[in-house]
Every structure is written in C-alpha cells, then in structure tokens.
Symmetry: C2
Subunit: 205 residues, 2 copies
C-alpha cells in the first residue's frame, strides 16, 4: 500500500490526465467540472479537495506543461552542443511526443491567454504565477541560446528577444491545427519544422 | 436622420468596438456582459437585441477580424506583384494597424481555439462557421501565393500547406505578447517580421 500522501499525489495526477484530455478535446469552456469527476471516480465535492476550481485545475496543467517544456529546452539548449545540432535536437524533441501530450499542447496554446489576467483567488493566482514563471524560463533559455549562436557566428546578429519569441511562436502554432490521426504525422512535422526553424534563425549551412 | 436599419448597424458597430476592447484587454472570460452594456449606453436586455450571447458577440468579432485579414491578404497576395514585393507589402500591412486593431488581434489569437467546438445555438453556430470560412480563405490565399512563388522559383519547392500554416502561425504569434506602449513599436515589428518571413519561406535574395 502506498502512503496516503503518495496515493493523493497519484490520484491528483489521474485527475490532471482526465482534465487535460477533456479540456484539450472538447475545449475548456465546454467541459463541465462534473465531467471530470465522473471518470475520475470521485464526487464533485471530493474533486474540490484537489483543485479549488476548474480554473485552478487548468492553471495547474498549464504550469506543469510549460515547466516540462522549459526543462526539455534547457537540457538541450544548454548542453553545449553545436548550435545546428542543438536546434535540430530540440525541434525533434518538440515533436517526439505522445498523442496525449499533443492534446495537452493544444490546450496550452488555446488557453495560455488566460495567464495574462490576474486572479482574485490565492491558489489560482499562485498557480498562474507559477505558469508565467515557466513561460519566462522558456523565453530565457531561447534568448541565451540564440545570443550564444550569434557570438559563435552560427546565425546572423539580431535582436535575440524578438527572434526567441518568433521561434517559440512558430513552434507553438502547430498545436492550433495539429490533430492526432489527421493529415500529418508528428515525424513529418518534426522534419518540416527542423528546416523551418533553421531558416527562421538564419542558421548558416 | 439615418434610417432605422442604418442606426441599428451603427449601434451594432459601436457595441462591437466596446466588446473588442473589453474582451481584448481584460480577457473574454473576465468580461461580464453588463460591462459592455453600460458604456454602450443600453440595458442588458437591449443588448440581446444585437447579440444572442457573449459567445455570439465574440464569434461576430472573430468572423469580422478574420474576414478583414482575408481581404487584406487577398488584395496583396493576388495582385500579381513579384513574390518578394508581395511578401514585404503583406507583412508591412499586417503591422500597419491601430492600437485598437492590435488589441482585436490579441483577442483573435487568444480565443480562436473556441472556433473548433460546435455550438448548440443556431446563431452562434452560423457565426462560428462564418469565422471558420474566413480562416480557410486566409489559408487558401497563402497556399496559392506560395505555390505560385515555388513555380516562379522565388522560393524552394516544399509542402505549401505546411508552409502557409507556419507563416500564418509566425505572424499571428506576435499578438500573444505585443502590447501597445510596450517595449516594441509596430514599425520595428514590421521590419523584423518582413525579414523573418522571407527567411522562413526561403526567399532567394
């Protein structure tokens, strides 16, 4: 038997997985709180033990998703690989994901606009700030990487902040239209976006 | 005196302008229907004469905004200009806009995910489909332009659908972070994105 706190953490992860799938497939607004409680096998009241509100659950998902992307990007872009190799590796990692993660990415791009409005509730606001901090980590690691690539003359000198936002925007935009079992496979997208990102940053070949 | 139908159309445009500003600045979910009625100088009940719901009002804004972008893109990208000139002109047009239009663009990128879920209400659904049709016009005009640029050997041959989505995604991503009176002016962004878009499509110099 797991200790109670581990059981709770496991249960919380199960609820998050169900919520990510519902929110991502049906849309956040269209999903009722009760629709998450039922497949999670708990009542709506018990659900409030884990999340204060539907928004708190959404922000928790966004903070986790952005935090995982920040960690992935940091591990590759700060690895000391040559810029061209690091770029190819990081774009490949972006598209080497499960269908569930692709649906979570769609949720992220659809709902991240909500992170720009502050919340009255303490727990919602704390989780919103956590998600924003992870988004800033993502921007910072790209800025540092691009600056370093400019110093190494692997890419032309330019504004690293604008270029970082352009690369992040380009890569994120995929999840607006990508659907598992649609016309494109993630492997095809990985190849296309590896070349597209290299062209966007002006990588010298 | 304007005829009643013109007066109604003018009033409807005033309401849309107020709604675009409120939704764009405070967020769609955070804006209450009453907050739009008050500055419009009408009661909540009268507001329902113009829009069935807050969602109907949002979809009307998205359909109008996407429709205007489709028309702008078509007028430049189908003008018969050389690909390099057409591309520079269209990106400049994207950033030669008012602050109010920039806020409306932010609303568009934050809320366009809602267009992927069908609605039960007839008027909401009709307006949603109108917005989706405008989004498809935007994609089509870019695909046609890129195909033609490939045939003219102005850009390398590749998948025009993926490339169109990449260009649209890159240009739209700006509105996620751009704020009037922020660190960047629209003129700077126009210059940066003209070069960035040219690199992304692989324009031969």
């Amino acid at each position: 038997l797991e200790p109670a706190s581990d059981q709770q953490a496991t249960r919380r992860d199960e609820i998050l997985a169900i919520a990510a799938d519902c929110f991502g497939r049906e849309g956040f607004d269209a999903t009722k709180w009760a629709e998450i409680a039922e497949p999670a096998g708990i009542g709506e009241t018990a659900l409030y033990h884990y999340f204060e509100s539907k928004n708190h659950c959404l922000f928790t998902l966004l903070a986790r998703s952005l935090g995982e992307w920040a960690t992935t990007y940091e591990s590759v872009l700060r690895s000391g690989m040559a810029p061209a190799d690091a770029l190819a590796t990081v774009v490949e990692a972006t598209f080497s994901i499960t269908d569930a993660a692709a649906i979570e990415n769609r949720l992220l791009v659809h709902e991240q606009g909500k992170l720009s409005t502050s919340r009255a509730s303490g727990r919602e606001e704390a989780t919103r700030l956590e998600a924003l901090a992870a988004a800033r980590r993502i921007e910072r690691v790209w800025v540092d990487f691009l600056l370093d690539a400019m110093r190494q003359q692997a890419i032309p000198v330019g504004d690293p902040h604008l270029l970082a936002r352009a690369v992040i925007g380009l890569l994120q935009s995929v999840w607006n239209w990508y659907r598992p079992a649609g016309s494109y496979e993630l492997g095809d997208l990985g190849r296309f976006y590896t070349d597209a990102t290299a062209r966007l940053v002006g990588l010298r070949s």
